[in-house]
């Protein structure tokens, strides 16, 4: 596997009347070719802003303050607008949360797809139309020859998200950024769309960056997980690392809050107490401190990333060697 995307110390802020809201506060991660990476977090954790920052889609009053977004080793942030436009929708495509509003309501679905195809691929009108029909068929839309000339409102929510996926994959992108692609859909439709994404990934080897607040979705499709909170990455690891050996109290809290059906009985939902930090004046220490059950004096200081095992990192003082030592001693005492 080779490195497709490398994000380094990304910082994005919104300049509001009250002051600077630091939505993304130094985020770094990599995506390998063919990998499906999930970013999980509550709303306001900065996950969607991170996704939009990658392609420079932040609108004023938002500003990307610093960081590098290396795509095939080239920094997207150094590129000119025309260079970026050539990549958007072509090598990197994006789908958004609400398929009901993602398509222009007064333009035929086909025309919207053809517009993108003709922009990036050297296709004539007929060729682009042919390709659009093929794509619609591929994402499982019945009788695409007729559907292509319909308007978005003539499609159901799930069908529209399929159209979005078809449009996203039409130029054979190397990276697909999916921002909460299933949140607005019914549970059964959610499963269908996730399956479709998995199939297409297997068929095309497209890398996927999946943004979601739903750990269940992550477990189904991702190979690696990034947990975000307060504009920072709290923990990162493989799906096994995160689900079986979560090392950050926030991740542990998140996992506890997933509803599970156990022996025919629904387990009580445990949610994390408190509210996310105010990013207008973000805390200088660990952002999760206020809500953390293990908070201690040391947490007023920003922890570094600790690496409990290879490919697994965590932003928490509990993993410092001192604390690990203490923990072992306590366990020893108990025995």
């Amino acid at each position: 596997m080779t490195e497709l995307l490398s994000v380094q110390n990304l910082k994005t802020s919104f300049m509001t009347r009250e002051g600077e809201v630091e939505s993304v506060r130094g985020v770094s991660f990599d995506i390998q070719q063919g990998e499906v990476v999930g970013i999980v977090g509550e709303s306001g954790s900065g996950k969607s802003i991170t996704a939009k920052s990658l392609l420079g889609l932040i609108q004023p009053p938002g500003v990307i303050k610093e960081g590098k977004v290396l795509f095939h080793g080239q920094d997207l942030r150094q590129m000119t607008e025309p260079q970026l436009r050539a990549i958007r929708g072509n090598q990197i495509a994006m789908i958004f949360q609400d398929p009901m509003t993602s398509l222009n309501p007064v333009i035929r679905v086909g025309a919207q797809m053809i517009e993108v195809l003709r922009r990036h691929q050297k296709l004539d009108k007929a060729g682009a139309r042919q390709r659009a029909i093929e794509m619609l068929r591929e994402v499982g839309i019945p009788s695409p020859e007729q559907r292509i000339d319909q308007y978005p409102h003539e499609f159901s929510g799930g069908m529209r998200q399929r159209v979005m996926i078809a449009m996203a994959l039409s130029c054979k992108p190397e990276l697909l950024i999916a921002d909460e692609p299933t949140t607005a859909l019914d549970v059964t439709i959610q499963a269908q769309i996730l399956n479709l994404m998995k199939q297409l990934r297997d068929a095309t080897n497209t890398s996927i960056l999946l943004i979601t607040h739903d750990l269940g979705v992550v477990a189904q499709v991702c190979t690696r997980v990034i947990v975000m909170y307060g504009g920072m990455i709290m923990e990162e690891g493989t799906v096994e690392d995160i689900f079986e050996r979560p090392s950050h109290p926030y991740t542990q809290g998140l996992l506890r809050s997933i509803p599970r059906v156990k022996e025919g009985q629904r387990e009580r939902l445990v949610s994390i107490e408190g509210t996310p930090p105010n990013l207008l004046h973000p805390p200088t220490g660990c952002p999760f401190m206020e809500r953390c059950p293990h908070a201690m004096d040391k947490c007023r200081e920003m922890p570094p990333y600790f690496v409990p095992e290879e490919g697994h990192r965590s932003l928490c003082w509990l993993l410092s060697s001192d604390m690990q030592q203490q923990k072992r001693e306590q366990e020893g005492d108990e025995q």
């Binding site: 939009k52 392609l55 889609l57 436009r85 050539a86 990549i87 958007r88 929708g89 072509n90 495509a93 994006m94 958004f96 609400d98 509003t101 993602s102 398509l103 222009n104 309501p105 007064v106 333009i107 035929r108 517009e115 993108v116 922009r119 990036h120 308007y151 409102h153 003539e154 979005m164 449009m167």
Partner: protein, 316 residues
Amino acid sequence: MKKYILRRILQAIPLLWFISLVSFALIKLAPGDPVNSFVTPNMSAEDVERIRHSLGLDQPVYMQYLIWLKNIFQGDFGYSLTTHRPVLTMILERLPATIGLMGAALLLSLLIAIPISMIAAAKKNRVTDRVISMVSYIGISIPSFWFGIMLIYIFAVKLHVLPSMGMRTIGVDSIWDILKHGILPCAVLTFMNVSMYSRYIRSQAISQLEEDYVQIQYAYGATKNRVLWRHVLKNVLLPIITILGMSFADLIAGAFITETVFSWPGMGSLGITSIFALDYPVIMGITMFSSVMLVIGNLVADILYGVADPRIKTMR
């Protein structure tokens, strides 16, 4: 779609009926006895009664209304009290001037308002936007007649470049001459309309620019101009049709005042003269005509909206 159009047309019928009631009331409630205008001093009381009878004025009010309605349907709007000519002929003579002025102003307004307000929306809160906003604030606040007078002062009185009144120079018969006379009144109406429309279009465009599909378009490599002039414009054009229908009443009122200021020989200036002369049949005729124009304007706007909006069009 056909059903939609049919329903809209049916909805207009009670409206037209109400308009006929108002118009009839205008005649009935008019101060003074309408017979008086036919009476000469040497007529006897029987003569007066005979005239009253021949005019149908001795019948009960509802019968008078029905007869009046029947006449209207036959195109008989009565005779002017001052010129004694048929009201319909008088109005039809004046109608082209009014429709020409209003139509030209409407077309120009849209041609100006749409691009400038799209630009203002794209440059929200920047200098261009603020200037356009300020000018349109003035446009909705300026008394149209005063603006007309000021234009006359500048272009006719001081600069002598444009005529200040009428539609033709006596003895000259050319399109160019009519156009020259039309510039100032058209400018007044256009300025008012552009101001009204642009405030509306701008806010529509701004809210469209916040829609998800705009974000998506950027994410798929569309340029700012492409998004603005294809995707946003298409969505903004629809509500413009509605605002056009709604602004029709203001447009007619504006035309009446503007015609008077510039002595433009249209229906509006005829209306004002007939009000001063208390020429009730003409007043009634103009009320009916302008109301029906308004109803038809709204109707056309609604139908156009239905034709243009795929969400309504595909509803069968």
